[in-house]
């Protein structure tokens, strides 16, 4: 079909006009959005600067002086919540308590049940964070469903909120969540569980399935016992070093090293001859810490281990024992009849210390 030239021209003109209008409209819209964001940013910076000065005066007012903070405008309250949460990782003690009072005075915590169910991820995350850092125990029930949130960041903040309040009624859902997570995140998950404090350990002992049925939770148990230096967990840790799972054994050894109880040395020492190198490497770290200078013969034996990591840990363990350990390393390094591996690792460790001017 052929269109008359006048019609083609008209279509072209109108098409260009419509396209031009669309592009101009989009440019104007973008500029408008940018302008709005710039204005919001300027407002945020101005408010933050003013609040920083006010917060310092509020937190550090002298003894006996009542704490006062200027009134926060209703439209700025959301901004102020974010401002306050910036300090949660920084402040402790009386100042953290004062920060909590300031937050409660604002009254925004009353909207938490609604915000915890909000469709916007950032709003749910912020609400969960507030429950955790401002220790709002009365909202914990409302946080539990967020452990099944599709956004990992939100579930993590929800778990943190539940642990930071130290309420063991929520231990089960949090432990279940931890066990659903990937193993490579173990360190991050441990930090979350530490929030419950050492009281979680007896709870775990009472509630976990036996290690034969489910080993992973017992690895977390052992690592937590170590990070809390929980002496009451030592009998269970001694049972765990005899468990056939290498990961459990190595984790329990790590915890026993943190406890450093000489009475456990006789039970730990045979693991220096374990068939799995991961256990021997951990034993090499633990022996000196638990046994002190008595561990030197066992550590010397480990310096000729075929695995470098075991030898390195053994040499480090000896150096950490001070004069007695360093003397043994020097003797090893200079003994022409000593095992080649042992001699080399002793020399390596001594040279390393020499370069840095300390043991």
């Amino acid at each position: 079909m052929h269109l008359p030239p006048a019609m083609v021209l008209r279509i072209l003109v109108w098409g260009t006009v419509i396209l031009g209008s669309l592009v101009s409209g989009l440019i104007l819209l973008g500029a408008g959005i940018q302008l709005r964001r710039d204005r919001q940013n300027r407002h945020r910076i101005a408010r933050y600067q003013a609040w920083e000065a006010d917060l310092a005066a509020y937190l550090f007012s002298g003894e006996g002086t009542p704490r006062t903070f200027p009134r926060v405008a209703k439209e700025d309250r959301q901004l102020f919540q974010k401002f306050l949460t910036r300090y949660h990782a920084t402040l402790a003690g009386k100042e953290a308590e004062a920060l909590r009072e300031l937050y409660l005075d604002l009254g925004v915590h009353r909207s938490l049940p609604r915000r915890l169910k909000q469709r916007q991820t950032a709003v749910r995350a912020q609400a969960a964070q507030e429950v955790g850092i401002f220790r709002l125990g009365e909202y914990l029930e409302a946080v539990v469903p967020l452990l099944d949130d599709p956004v990992p960041y939100v579930t993590h903040l929800a778990a943190q909120a539940l642990t930071l309040n130290g309420d063991l009624r929520f231990a089960q859902p949090v432990v279940d969540w931890v066990l659903r997570e990937e193993r490579y995140q173990r360190e991050r998950l441990l930090r979350v569980l530490e929030g419950f404090g050492p009281d979680l350990l007896p709870w775990l002992e009472a509630h976990l399935d036996p290690p034969e049925a489910a080993p992973e939770p017992w690895i977390l148990f052992a690592l937590l016992a170590g990070s809390h230096r929980h002496r009451a967990s030592a009998p269970r840790l001694l049972e765990l070093i005899a468990h056939p799972d290498v990961d459990i054994q190595a984790s329990a050894l790590k915890a026993l090293a943190a406890l450093a109880d000489p009475l456990t040395y006789a039970r730990v020492e045979p693991l220096a001859r374990h068939e799995a190198w991961a256990v021997r490497a951990q034993a090499a770290k633990a022996l000196g810490l638990i046994g002190g200078p008595d561990a030197i013969p066992a550590l010397i034996a480990l310096t000729s281990d075929p695995i470098y990591e075991v030898r390195r840990n053994a040499a480090q363990g000896m150096a950490d024992l001070g004069h007695a350990g360093t003397s043994a390393l020097t003797w090893l390094a200079e003994d022409p009849t000593a095992d080649r591996f042992a001699r080399d690792i002793a020399k390596e460790r001594l040279e390393w210390a020499d370069e840095r001017g300390h043991q």
Binding site: Y48, E52, A53, Y87, T90, A92, E95, A96
Partner: protein
Amino acid sequence: MSRKWPDPTRVLVVEDDQATARLIQARLEMEGLKVYVAPHGVEGLEILQREPIDLVTTDLMMPAMNGFRLVQEIRDLPPPKGRVPILLVSSNQNEQDMIRCLAAGADDYMTKPISAQVLVERLWRMHQRSSSAG
């Protein structure tokens, strides 16, 4: 408790989180201290070489030059600058890092969250020790 800081006592605060730095600065200025703030170790070292700093408090994890490296660099300076008391403040609770920093020459170590009251008290003790050591 009342502390009588010598006038002037200059403190260098090396901290990459500006909000935290300003809060620490406000608390230390309330004590009557003169405070210099640097966002990382490189600038901190420059200030230390330029000004007669009496105490240093530094974060551990920072861009450009971290706290561990800063401690090493300071301790490599000739005295008296090389002997300035250093307090490390970090959110990292790793025991090995603490040992590493103390071995590198830091005088004390605090982990975040911190109480500003405790921070001031630690700085005061460090200052007292360094004054009595001459």
